[in-house]
Subunit: 365 residues, 2 copies
């Protein structure tokens, strides 16, 4: 079946390009690899992602996995040198490359914009995984003039990676990622940036909340500058909306800080509304399995902080026949123990707690 | 030893008050409980947190674990009704209650402000744990006129909970929590609030980054309004600084969105500087064990999503003699498997990967 798809040419053998090629190779698809860096493409080949590209490859599909800044150039060049092939890309912004292509008069009937929502904190072929896309959304953003058969080919190839294909207009995609990805990145960076100026004893008061909010603040500035620049219009709209909300909070907190009891009630209501609006927005985020959010019940267990103890605990959970939905570990500063928070379906919590206690574990439910 | 401390009266038997009382009972300290809600104090008593308070209790220390809004009132009242006792509190803002007490002429020589940096997403006595404070910071903020012996008594009691006691002026504490706790809360709420307006298919593109940034956006609006109002001056300063940074990003993104190549280089540099500033701030957050951040190496393993498999994996990790520093689970939407990311010391990673592969596990390193 997959043989009928023809050869897939992957241009750019970093994390995403190599992971895609590995996933396709695992399904028996013929893949050829190209990258401006000879060592990058050699590494990708050695990892089993495919063979080196050659001038006489008969290519059915080109996947451009290049940095956001050069995507339109590379797509245009691949469309020209492979006049029979469909071309797709994996850039995280979609309206800009389409605009750049049409602005220079490129026929986009064979071009299908794409964006796999998958990634890792590490980059490069060495971090590639054949299962990087498994179960993750992969958005296709064909233009009005894109050939439906071209879209169908890209969809068939992408589905081989285990990704869940969805389709939406490029503008709608960019509005979406501005809100679910680009603005959260900016917010995390801004919150983390505040930490530069506080004294050491203050940073020591950091808790899990701060760690969660700022985790993605460790991201690569160069890559993120390209992403934000590429989606500037949608990001600007979302950031202006965020600033409007922030101005409301600041006005309210300023009024409260003035310690004038008269205006405090209105100001308090304004602050409460913002936190409540956050509750509502947060409740819309789908659960881990992509379904509607489920309220799991956490069962908290004390675990000695040494090899094998967590395994023994999870063995006991398995023996109880309970499926673990999520697990968080909380280490205790300077203490030889950790807390494991095991999320289970609410109906299973009491039984699990009883069974673990019977096995000698200290359980909090 | 702990007998010499005398009786500790806990006023307010919610999560923090009951957890503290449980921790003290475990060390043999005599505790008496009071709460304006009879059912709350009964639950706390039944959980083993101590006995009901009586008019003739000889109290050495009063711990006020009341909502932020009423802390100063309750502290003043406890100082008056227990003229021999030291009084401390656990409110998350510290300058305001001190200001309110001195404004009404209360002698604060027996009052020691305190703030345990510990909490849970759930509240109430039912969520209380004797180990809630283990290894967590507990800040004491005595005033200049506070009796050193009063501070020493509070320190001795707090240390019985396993908390790590630190001491700083109330103003410095409030500046610190504004940056490490209150502003992150506001930012998370603002980012989550943006999600209210996006269509369903867009929310479906949410990834782990968004989940992390917005996790604390699920917090209680009423409690957070009290906290932000109580620390309004410091929060206002930090929010104004955040807005200044945000304005720089917005100006830069606006310039980029205008697609005028001439101003883009300066705008790009401005965006890159903000992300880089976030990198720097993020790097200052201490690691899980409270020590300097350590770079662990993640070993990624495919785990069938059914009872017992994760236990089998961690058994294998334990058998390899490797200590697991952290573990994250990544479920795959609609697929019967998960990815376990096991953080280990860099020197242990290759050996662990080899040993797991030999055991038949699919490992990515």
């Amino acid at each position: 079946m997959s043989g009928a798809l023809g050869t897939v040419r992957v241009v750019g053998t970093g994390l995403v390009g190599t992971s895609l090629a590995l996933a396709l190779r695992a399904k028996g698809v013929d893949t050829v690899l190209w990258d401006p860096s000879p060592s990058a493409v050699a590494l990708s080949r050695d990892l089993g992602a495919g063979r080196f590209a050659a001038a006489d490859d008969e290519v059915a599909l080109v996947v451009v996995a290049a940095p956001p800044d050069v995507v339109a150039d590379v797509v245009a060049s691949e469309l020209a040198t492979h006049p029979q092939a469909v071309v797709t890309d994996v850039a995280s912004v979609k309206a800009q490359p389409l605009r750049q292509l049409t602005a220079r008069g490129v026929d986009v009937s064979r071009y299908v914009g794409g964006h796999p929502l998958a990634g890792r904190e590490r980059s490069g072929a060495v971090a590639a995984r054949a299962d990087l896309f498994t179960g993750r959304p992969w958005v296709l953003t064909p233009a009005a003039s894109t050939d439906p058969e071209a879209v169908e080919l890209v969809r068939r190839v992408v589905e081989l990676t285990g990704a869940v294909v969805t389709q939406m207009p490029a503008d709608e995609h960019d509005e979406a990622v501005a809100v679910v990805s680009h603005v959260p990145q900016v917010a995390a960076s801004l919150v983390a940036a505040r930490l530069r100026e506080v004294p050491e004893p203050s940073v020591a008061l950091a808790g899990q909340g701060l760690r969660d909010v700022t985790r993605i603040a460790a991201s690569d500035p160069q890559l993120w500058t390209q992403i934000l620049a590429g989606n500037a219009a949608a990001v600007a709209r979302a950031l202006h909306a965020l600033r409007d909300d922030l101005d409301v909070v600041i006005a309210a907190v300023d009024a409260l800080g003035a310690d004038s009891g008269a205006e405090a009630p209105g100001a308090r209501a304004a602050v409460a509304r913002v936190v409540a609006a956050g509750n509502e927005g947060h409740a819309r985020i789908p659960g881990k399995h992509g379904s509607a959010p489920t309220a799991y019940t956490p069962v908290v267990v004390l675990v000695p902080d040494r090899p094998g103890e967590l395994a023994r605990l999870l063995q006991a959970v398995g023996d109880a026949g309970v499926n673990l939905e999520d697990l968080r570990l909380e280490h205790s500063e300077g203490r030889p123990m950790a807390l494991a928070e095991i999320d289970v379906l609410p109906a299973a919590a009491a039984g699990l707690a009883g069974s673990l206690r019977a096995g000698g574990w200290t359980v909090h439910l």
